[in-house]
Homo-oligomer: 311 residues x 2
């Protein structure tokens, strides 16, 4: 059985400064649940990794917003994500009280002490807990596998592999899921990005290798060139298994609603983002490629990749 | 070793009535070869399956156009495609004389007498010959496998499986390539469409199953929601094998040139096309879905699929 998280309101927020109107967010969550997605990740708690000026509601994740969504879809569908450095000791309890039941904790495999403490607290409160390892393609593999095992020992329900740079191929995804699955007893998830157009292929490969949690966003709306498009994912799952309990019609209706309400949701796969994925560079590097011809951007990316890998 | 065909000028023609300007077509072919693609399919000979009013040069494939491209990239890169019913006995000889060296013959597996005769003539003239089985998802499998074997007996170099409706999944692709490969000694190719966002995943699956010829088009520009994007395909191949003899920079430069010169090349993955792929309906059915809400189009597609499958 798969568990799917709709990350549109959160990851898509990178496209519109996290400012989805309240009535849209509520309608979105309702249709997402109707489409059969198990969780709706509705916001960051207190910001992204880096501070974002004037960040909107799905970048703040206030209690009042959590409560409003939970009233519509029920707490058992409401997920939140956070960076441990952004929260204080009372946040998790307040989030739970407001109606969130899934919390995802972003960590870097090389430095996860705060993350593990947060796992422990969240588990004690009753959350379903995922640890999201970001930028997995840039992690030392041994460190990553070791960190995943440690997260599981702390009671994590899901170890999430986040392909933040959109650089994974299906083969690498398969190997990564297999090797992490070899050492952790808990579930494994994939958070794909679509720089190379491989988000769907990687998700299929991840599931074949044993992953059971997959992130997607409606119209693929997410950071950089975006995530796995929810409507493609549900179309695949229902083609593969006509008995699968997803409602593709509702997912398409949601995609149409999003396209009509939020201009920044227009799907795109720009060439510079493909370059970033190919060179395993973070989205933060995009400005460094400049506005020159793509062939010159290619050269700039190649030079940048050498500097990054030497660092 | 893979052989790749760039089908932009031909399949992309469905987006702009086959009217690529001559200077663009020549520049395109040159960059395509520079990117490392083995063949450039430059046109239909004498039209598509159905007559298209005012069809442009890449829908007609005149000798003079073939000659102009062959002068730039050499005959060994110049491919053409045709429907046997559209040509007369002199066409193949004239095409060869003008400078085409690959010819692809579109056939329906259930009725291929004309196609086989055309294969024989083309082989005798010295062409590399592919038989393209169209709409493979709607073919009876036994008929298709039998027809593929027969095409091979007539000397076909490549049996091409065309996912005209964009309905294949990776599993189905793998099974199809495997079962056809079991009975034909010649090469197998895949012509993917991207309705379900699976063109890349299907191409990877096809190659894993033994296919060695893959079609792609720059920016995915092709009929309906388009083909496998060439730049994604070469990015994948060069990530998989850093020694692969493709020049991703040239492919990206070509994509940028196309985007700048041909407005109809803008990538898109519209929801109604996803519906068509999901229900295995042909692009010709798109108008039948109407302009209503996508949820109502879903219902219309479901009803239409029942009629089509009962026919």
């Amino acid at each position: 059985m798969l568990t799917n998280i709709d990350v549109t309101l959160r990851d898509g927020g990178y496209r519109n400064n996290f400012s989805f109107p309240r009535d849209y967010a509520l309608a979105h969550a309702e249709l997402s649940v109707k489409a059969g997605l198990e969780w709706v990740e509705i916001a960051y708690r207190k910001g992204s990794f880096k501070p974002v000026p004037g960040i909107g509601p799905t970048g703040r994740g206030d209690d009042e917003y959590i409560r409003a969504v939970a009233e519509v879809v029920g707490p058992e569908r409401v997920g939140m994500i956070l960076h441990p450095k952004n929260i204080d000791r009372d946040d998790l309890g307040q989030m739970y009280e407001a109606g969130a039941r899934l919390v995802r904790i972003c960590v870097n495999a090389a430095d996860m002490a705060d993350g593990l403490e947060t796992v422990r607290t969240a588990k004690a409160l009753g959350f379903t807990v995922a640890v999201n390892f970001t930028r997995v393609t840039q992690q030392d593999r041994r460190t990553l596998v070791h960190a995943a095992a440690e997260a599981a020992e702390y009671g994590t329900d899901v170890v999430y592999l986040a392909d933040s740079n959109g650089s994974l191929t299906p083969d690498e995804t398969r190997r990564l899921v297999t090797s992490v699955g070899h050492v952790v007893p808990c579930a494994i998830g994939l958070h794909p990005h679509n720089n190379l157009g491989l988000a769907l292929a990687n998700s299929i490969a991840a599931v074949e290798a044993g992953a059971t949690w997959i992130d997607s966003s409606v119209l693929g709306m997410g950071k950089g060139p975006g995530n796995l498009p929810t409507e493609q994912w549900l179309a695949y799952l229902t083609r593969r298994d006509p008995g699968a309990a997803y409602d593709l019609g509702s997912a398409l209706g949601l995609a149409e609603l999003l396209a009509g309400r939020v201009a920044e949701s227009a799907p795109e796969l720009p060439l510079p983002d493909l370059l970033l994925g190919w060179f395993d560079l973070a989205v933060e590097h995009r400005a460094r490629l400049g506005n020159q011809d793509i062939v010159d951007q290619f050269a700039a990316a190649a030079a940048l990749a050498q500097v990054v890998s030497a660092a």
